[in-house]
């Protein structure tokens, strides 16, 4: 089968690989119908996630049709079309039973901190991902959700990560009615977080990025104010100024380790790997939120250390919340939102490429070429 193949930092290609096999009675094999490239994939693509092995296949955002199931699979059958949440979760451990499907104890041997994730390095379990014609889906009784008959596959694939993660970013911000919410990052995740902030009753939503085309997109899609951090001087002072010198009630970091905007952070975090990515956005978030406010961390950082003003977090009495999104927990509510027209996931898709052109897709998304917001890869088998 055709699959994406990682060769080293910023080097990927599509090659023929062996078909995935059933290795556990709860496994299923899925024929991939859509797979996306995510901001999280960029941390891998840039070589910033430890234990990313050459020859791995990335892709944690995919939907597909079940073509084979293990002996214990009862909840889905061959022929079902399913949304596959990006987290691999057993459904039985102490954490899964608290609906912490992003923190499963039985899907990753390599790390104590992170649950299993498709196509996300050996630090996240060493599973191959869905940027391929076929993928192995463990715990098929737990993760996959059948795509409603009236749902577009493009909407469905955005429910594997982007929509739930933006939503959980807003949820974790603890928004109260009327709150001012600032979102750092106008990538797909930040755009969805800004849009979802309204669902929790926000009174004002502001998004910050440096790509004008993304800011324009966010103004329309998320109905929010949008500012370019290269034009507003010190972003923290700017936010103080426009919030009557209070700071925002809630701030969401939807940037993570690839953040720009601070040379020291960029050099130590992204070039020299002396910290687990550049923490510029989180740094700004802690300083821009008001005293007693909440910082919601959706942006992904590496497993070592980052330079953030933790002293300010203490002095200001902040609450910091973060997690990998518990996709399965949120899906019933979000499917409802999509069906009722509250959310419009597929409007985020700007590019569609055949899997064969995966290298172009990564380059384009990574360097924000051709006004790219979200890229969908189409495996050759998707059209069968």
């Amino acid at each position: 089968m055709l699959a994406m193949d990682y060769r080293g930092p910023k080097r990927v290609r599509a090659v023929q690989k062996p078909m995935p096999e059933i290795r556990h009675p709860q496994d299923a094999i899925v024929r991939v119908l859509r797979a996306c490239i995510c901001g999280s994939d960029l941390h891998l693509y840039n070589g910033n996630v430890p234990d990313t092995r050459v020859g791995s296949t990335f892709g944690h955002e995919f939907v597909g049709e079940i073509v084979d199931i293990g002996a214990d699979v009862t909840k889905v059958k061959v022929g079902d079309r399913v949304i596959v949440p990006f987290n691999i979760a057993c459904g039985e451990c102490h954490f899964c039973r608290q609906e912490m499907y992003g923190n499963c104890q039985e899907s990753n041997t390599e790390s104590g901190a992170i649950g299993g994730i498709y196509g996300y390095s050996h630090t996240a379990g060493g599973f191959n991902g869905g940027q391929a014609e076929y993928a192995r889906v463990p715990y098929a009784n737990v993760g996959p959700v059948i795509i409603p008959a009236d749902m577009d596959l493009d909407d469905a694939v955005m429910l594997t990560d982007v929509i739930p993660t933006g939503y959980q970013g807003a949820e974790m911000a603890g928004i109260q009615t009327g709150d001012t919410v600032v979102v750092f990052g106008a990538g797909p995740i930040g755009i969805v977080a800004a849009r979802c902030a309204w669902l929790f009753g926000a009174g004002r939503v502001i998004i910050i990025d440096k790509e004008d085309y993304r800011l324009d997109f966010a103004r329309n899609y998320s109905y929010c104010e949008a500012y370019n951090f290269q034009e507003i001087g010190d972003p923290v002072v700017f936010i103080k100024k426009i919030t009557d010198w209070m700071g925002a009630d809630c701030v969401i970091d939807a940037v993570g380790a690839e953040a720009e905007g601070n040379t020291l952070q960029t050099i130590t975090g992204r070039k020299l790997l002396q910290q687990a990515g550049s923490a510029t956005a989180l740094h700004w978030a802690i300083n821009a939120v008001k005293k007693g406010g909440v910082v919601s961390i959706v942006g992904v950082y590496g497993p070592t250390d980052n330079l953030i003003p933790i002293g300010n977090a203490m002095n200001k009495g902040l609450t910091l919340r973060g997690n990998q999104t518990s996709v399965k927990r949120l899906l019933p509510r979000l499917i409802e939102h999509v069906q009722n027209g509250v959310l419009d996931p597929k409007a985020l898709i700007t590019h569609r490429l055949p899997l064969e052109e995966v290298a172009d897709g990564y380059r384009m998304f990574s360097n924000k070429l051709d006004n790219c917001i979200k890229t969908v890869l189409m495996p050759p088998t998707a059209n069968q």
Binding site: G8, G47, N108
Partner: protein, 181 residues
């Protein structure tokens, strides 16, 4: 726990005032809705019934007792990078001795990947793998400027290095090879 004798567990309920200000609504773990601590969980150690047979090498974090019930099999550790990774997994994730070798192993692995390609008679198409076609199509001026700058700086460095004290030839070659990947 060698100090168990002096660290005798106490029943918290015997402490005067235990729980008198407990407020279940004050839960900072929102939006976790089904929160329970291990004591409230009737089966905190529950595992899936079936365990994936361990028939490939899986490196296990020393922060957990056993291999997880499922795991990925496609890229077991191999070669020099694999040896480095095995060493790394002797240390917990709390230590740089775990993460730094893994980063080194990743870089070694890239060179191994190129060597494997060459052995299979395949010359990696770096232009295509890096998606430079997209830069050429959508970002040509900046891309050409960047490449020209990198080229000029590299050429300048080469001239500068080779004009100085004569270095041993083999040493120079190895450096150039690594910096390319």
């Amino acid at each position: 726990m060698k100090d168990n004798a002096i660290n005798t567990p106490i029943d918290p309920k015997t402490i005067k005032g235990w729980g008198i200000d407990a407020d279940p609504k004050n839960d900072p773990t929102y939006p976790m809705r089904k929160r329970m601590n291990a004591g409230e969980d009737p089966t905190p150690k529950r595992r899936p019934d079936n365990l994936q047979p361990v028939n490939v090498e899986v490196l296990k974090s020393i922060e957990r007792p056993k291999v997880s019930a499922v795991f990925g099999t496609p890229a077991p550790p191999s070669g020099l990078s694999g040896m480095i990774r095995r060493q790394a997994f002797k240390y917990s994730e709390n230590q740089y001795k775990h993460w730094l070798p893994l980063i080194v192993a990743d870089r070694v692995n890239v060179v191994e990947g190129v060597v494997t390609d060459l052995f299979q008679g395949k010359l990696p198409n770096i232009w295509a793998e890096k998606g430079y076609g997209m830069e050429w199509k959508h970002n040509r001026t900046a891309f050409v400027t960047k490449m020209a700058t990198i080229g000029a700086v590299t050429a300048g460095l080469v001239v500068w290095l080779s004009s100085g004290k004569k270095k041993k030839k083999s040493e120079f070659k190895a450096k150039d090879y690594l910096s390319r990947f």
